[in-house]
């Protein structure tokens, strides 16, 4: 499975049940990723065990900051991604051994929701270009290259005013793929002229914006600001530590590609899967992470519904901190 072609055959083959693909990758990573191999030992697991996906220990995502999360190999990584952050912050580093796997993961799921024969994709990602290791920028570039019409591109605030002229007589819809705070900046700068058949795909949360907004607030603001029905406001959920992305189309509920499984974990006991409706940390099995770590416990807060879809509710903030802490909720 160190061979990318073989890995792709396994990861993306829908005819193989997810459990079987997952079990093979668990064994592979336990054997060849020494960090993950040591991680599972205290749980009493061995590489040859074949645990069900829900019983596989999820590795805390901060491991990408603290360690070199990569299988043993002589090959240099094709790509290196780093999370955004200031020089004082420690940043996650994701070493990608095979760009083919990343490309396949990006394109297969994106096209499922936003096929290029229906959409022109415009990327508005201010700020991300400051990070030369941004996985989001790399993904945007790759999607632009993958659009056979050549229409998809990066846009600035100014370019947006020219949309009508640039794409006269277009038959396709425009998908504006933007960082949430950048999209809000466009709205707040005023005078955005409504564009026909426009849809919005937001990503990245509000972490660098002036104020925190909830997802429903953001969706309504985008809907009002761009004069787009909320059915046409979509979200992307991805991160530098994951090769796969998830999309929520027309609402807040995300669905996963067939090679990804999401569960909501009890922050007090990450081995326990929360009931639908119960908030917890988002746990992700991303088989595309075959050469780093596929079994990830994020620090994001989420909730699942009865259909297996999930919502992202922000960052998980621990409540029960050390020290004296008077909490109204608990009193």
């Amino acid at each position: 499975m160190k061979n990318p072609e073989k890995a792709i055959e396994l990861i993306f083959d829908l005819s193989i049940p997810f459990e079987e693909r997952c079990s093979k990758i668990f064994e592979f990573q336990s054997l060849f990723n020494s960090i993950y191999g040591r991680f599972i030992e205290p749980f009493g697991l061995k590489p040859t065990d074949k645990p069900d996906p829900q019983d596989i220990p999820l590795f805390p995502i901060r491991g990408f900051k603290d360690g070199r999360i990569l299988i043993e190999t002589d090959k240099e990584p094709d790509l290196i991604f780093k999370s955004s952050g200031t020089s004082n912050m420690s940043r996650s580093i994701h070493r990608i051994l095979s760009r083919q796997i990343y490309e396949k993961a990006i394109l297969e799921e994106f096209k499922k929701h936003f096929p290029f024969n229906e959409y022109i994709v415009l990327f508005h990602l201010p700020g991300y270009d400051q990070n030369p290791y941004s996985s989001l920028i790399w993904m945007a570039n790759y999607l632009i290259k993958s659009d056979p019409s050549g229409s998809s591109q990066f846009v600035t605030r100014e370019n947006l005013d020219e949309l009508k002229f640039q794409f006269q007589n277009r038959e396709k819809k425009i998908l504006l793929f933007g960082a949430a705070f950048g999209l809000m900046d466009i709205i707040e700068s005023g005078n955005f002229e409504p564009v026909e058949h426009l849809e919005i795909l937001e990503t990245g949360g509000m972490k660098t914006h002036r104020r925190e907004m909830t997802k429903p607030e953001l969706r309504h603001a985008l809907s009002d600001g761009f004069d787009v029905a909320t059915d046409n406001i979509h979200s992307e959920y991805g991160m530098c530590e994951l090769l796969s992305q998830m999309y929520a189309t027309g609402g807040e509920w995300f669905e996963t590609p067939h090679w990804v499984q999401v569960s909501i974990r009890d922050p007090k006991n990450p081995s326990r899967i929360c009931e639908p409706g119960e908030e917890g940390k988002i746990g992700i099995i991303d088989l595309a992470n075959i050469h780093s770590c596929s079994f990830i416990l994020t620090d994001d807060r989420g909730v699942m519904d009865h259909k297996g879809r999930f919502k992202v509710l922000g960052r998980w903030n621990p409540e029960d901190l050390r020290g004296c802490n008077f909490l109204i909720d608990h009193e």
């Binding site: 805390p60 360690g67 020290g323 004296c324 008077f326 109204i328």
Partner: protein, 359 residues
């Protein structure tokens, strides 16, 4: 004797009576607290013994002098004290600050510690130092009573919620002075591993399960954890034999142990506690960070973690020295502070007088 001296004597007498071994009310409160599993008997006993030695009249007088206490400076002022309940009798110092300054104590007693403090309130009310009915475990019991100041401990995020609740209950407005303490951990600097130091360190880290803000969460030592952990573990086991840890960590701590093992971070896994040689801002319970370093290391850490740091402790050579805003305290006093100690470096009496009495 001045009016203030007479007042302090009166407070002292009430406390002495409260701490008498034959105080059946206090005994009942202790029994009930233990029966209901709120705190361990050993932790309550420790707290009571500390109060017996620190709440003597002479110490109240020292506090009065240090803080510039004026007689009845808070008269007719309602001071709301929100008790966090993470340790037995936590916030008792706030109650005494209000009573010593002649204010009207209004206490939101924690449901996690509902029996112990009311026995002292009752005793103080017998001396006409406090109104007996001015406490409750339900905040809404004080709805509509305008407060002149609020004292509590929390985090920046919980403060928003607390203030919003108090506003909606018409107890405060935007002008009401609020003293919120946010410090949640302390640092110890040791130079050796002699018995006294290690016993004091063990007490400073593990008393109350390490949940107090005076509890040590970072230790700076001249040794790496790996070379010291066997010996230190012996001290911890000996402490736990006498003081079984009442609160247990949740399963996420085991995940942390597995994570450290994966990344080969030096650690000592004690089942109910984790010690690791890696530095991070201490937020989590049941976790001690062990750092190899010297006084300069300590100094850097104090600067780095000033936001959230309660106290800095060491042994004889450094006691009393100043680091940033912190006077280094004796390690042995981590869990036995003098009555005049300043949470978040602020003297409560002094603050109340400045913000309420002289305003």
């Amino acid at each position: 004797m001045s009016d203030l001296q007479i007042h302090i004597e009166s407070v002292s007498k009430a406390i002495d009576e409260w701490l008498q071994p034959d105080n059946s009310e206090l005994k009942k409160a202790i029994d009930r607290t233990v029966e209901e599993g709120l705190f361990s008997f050993q932790d309550i006993k420790h707290q009571i013994l500390v109060l017996k030695s620190t709440l003597q009249k002479k110490n109240l007088e020292i506090w009065a002098e240090r803080s510039g206490l004026e007689y009845n400076s808070l008269k007719h002022n309602h001071i709301l004290c929100l008790h966090a309940g993470n340790l037995p009798l936590v916030g008792l110092q706030d109650l005494l600050a209000v009573v010593l300054a002649g204010g009207d104590y209004v206490g939101k007693i924690s449901k996690k510690d509902p029996y112990l403090l009311p026995t002292l309130i009752k005793k103080l009310s017998a001396y006409d130092l406090i109104k007996e009915d001015q406490w409750s475990t339900d905040l809404s019991a004080f709805s509509g009573i305008p407060m002149n100041a609020v004292l509590f401990a929390g985090s920046k995020s919980s403060a928003k919620e607390v203030k919003s609740s108090l506003r909606s209950l018409n107890m405060i407005d935007d002008q009401t002075p609020t003293l919120m303490r946010i410090a949640h951990f302390s640092i110890a600097f040791i130079e050796g591993n002699d018995t006294q130091t290690m016993e004091d360190l063990t007490e400073a880290v593990f008393r109350y399960g390490g949940t107090g803000c005076r509890s040590v969460a970072i230790v700076v030592a001249p040794y790496h954890l790996d070379s010291e952990k066997c010996e230190f573990t012996d001290y911890v086991e000996s402490f736990w034999l006498k003081n079984p840890q009442h609160q247990k960590p949740d399963e996420s701590l085991f995940y942390r142990y597995a994570y450290n093992k994966a990344l080969e971070i030096p650690q000592a896994w004690l089942n109910d506690f984790l010690i690791e040689e890696k530095l991070s801002h201490p937020k989590e319970k049941f976790l001690l960070y062990w750092i190899k370093g010297d006084f300069d290391t300590l100094s850097n850490l104090v600067t780095k973690y000033a936001d959230g740091l309660q106290s800095v402790y060491s042994t004889s050579r450094y006691i009393g020295e100043k680091l940033e805003d912190y006077h280094i305290e004796p390690l042995s006093q981590a869990q036995a502070p003098p009555v005049w100690w300043k949470p978040d470096q602020i003297d409560t009496i002094n603050w109340l007088q400045k913000k309420v009495a002289h305003h």
